[in-house]
């Protein structure tokens, strides 16, 4: 789409308000990773809800065991995992619910919530030590 959607007049709209996921055909979407898809400008993937967050999850690679609990339970497809490896958090799509932190089984946790304004480096520097078994 050449024009930005919000600048379209009534006469330029697709009849029936149909929306398309991609801007070109994708024969088998299950074969194409999220980073490689030709998303259409009307795909919500192209938008951000990052500003919904009050706190953000920060990922610490040092403790992660790649169990993928955070990946499967993330409601917002915001845990970036490739080839069975946890890579990080997609801050454009993460709403800061905190489920990933709750389900993280490591000790200390490899995901923790920090204030939104804190830089990730600072957060990693403040990472707590292993908790003693209760």
């Amino acid at each position: 789409m050449a024009k930005d959607i919000k600048d379209l007049g009534w006469n330029e709209l697709i009849p029936g308000a149909a929306l398309f996921s991609f801007s070109e055909p994708v024969e088998d979407v299950t074969e194409v990773a999220i980073d490689e898809r030709p998303y259409s400008p009307t795909n919500s993937h192209e938008y951000s809800v990052g500003d919904w967050r009050v706190e953000k999850p920060v990922f610490n690679r040092d403790y992660c065991i790649d169990c993928q609990f955070c990946w499967v339970f993330c409601p917002d497809i915001s845990i970036i995992s490739r080839d069975k490896k946890m890579i990080g958090v997609d801050y454009e799509h993460c709403k800061g619910c905190g489920i990933c932190v709750e389900v993280c089984p490591t000790n200390p946790k490899s995901l923790l919530m920090f204030p939104e304004h804190l830089e990730n480096e600072e957060a990693l520097a403040k990472w707590p030590a292993k908790e003693a078994k209760k």
């Binding site: 009534w10 029936g16 398309f20």
Partner: protein, 405 residues
Amino acid sequence: MAKKYELNEIEVWDGNTAVSHALRQARIDVVAAYPITPSTPIVQNYSKFLADGYIDGEFIMVESEHSAMSGCVAAGAAGARTATATSSQGFALMVEVLYQASGMRIPVVLTVADRALAAPLNVNGDHSDMYLGRDAGWINLCAYNPQEAYDLTLMAFKIAEDLDVRLPAMVHQDGFICSHTAQNVRPLSDAEAAKFVGEYKPVNSMLDISNPVTHGVQTEEDWHFEHKARQHNDLMNSKNVIKRVFDEFKTLTNREYNLVDNYKLEDADIAIVAIGTTVESARIAADKLRDEGIKAGVLGIRVLRPFPFEEIVNALSNVKAIATMDRSAPGGTFGMLFNEISGAMIGSGKSPIILNYIYGLGGRDTTIEQLIEIYRQLDDCARSNQRKYPLQQFIGLRGPKLSFF
């Protein structure tokens, strides 16, 4: 591959039989339907055609009219040619989904055997269901006899599915008075009909999985208005496609259709405006008046939506007194035709005398005598250039005369 159905040059079909053959010949992919008097025989015949091998598509006998229309909309979104039939209470149950069909731009064809709405319950013909759906954003074509019900059903697919239109279309016929009345019908052969209607052209099909599509979105105050404007614009402009399809049909069959059906209006002083079988009965009455030297004419609404504004104004521009005949309980105001014809005339700077007659509710017989009496009232008004009768009158009613204004 469906079997060919051998047809005679002239068949004696009631409106329902005629429509069911048109549906069969249109090679529909999915019919989702639910029975209701008087449209039931349409879906019964259709399922019998299917059982006998005359149809390739699928028939889903659903559990309600709401599901029937929902099934048609969804199948349409998935790339199927779809159609269904209904009447009255079933139509009322469909209404929610009628708006979804037009808003989602799915070219469903709905054949309606028009019938009264309860309460009190009544299975006979009037236009209450047609009026209930008139703002639903559909193309509305009106038949006056079984031949027209057949012809218009075939044409409805071609109009609705046109890439410049992509809007659903209804074909109306009067319940029982047309739907159950057998008359001479000249059908097309299966091959001719299929060629005329053409192959279905899917648009934004859900089954094109390489191009996933989202149908039936939510729009709020930032977008709803633009989408409804686009929809209205396309419905208004569908007039051109309707005219083109009417012309193509005439070339094929020599049967002529127009947005409005004018009978002896060129020099008419008085005119009846009506929809359905009454249009034809009124022609008999008009001829009787003309035998007496009174210049009477009839305007039949062939296309109710998009509203044929210019055609109506042109046809009635020299008429002095007009009867607008509404076969639906007006519910606290004038009948729809009165309001719309009045609006059209006033909007074009004309000021004929316009009267509103409410008639034929619940299948009440509408006689030639009554129509003659309406013409006499019009004639009386036209001669004196005075409105000498109430604006709204109920005719054929037992008890004291009922009129307003």
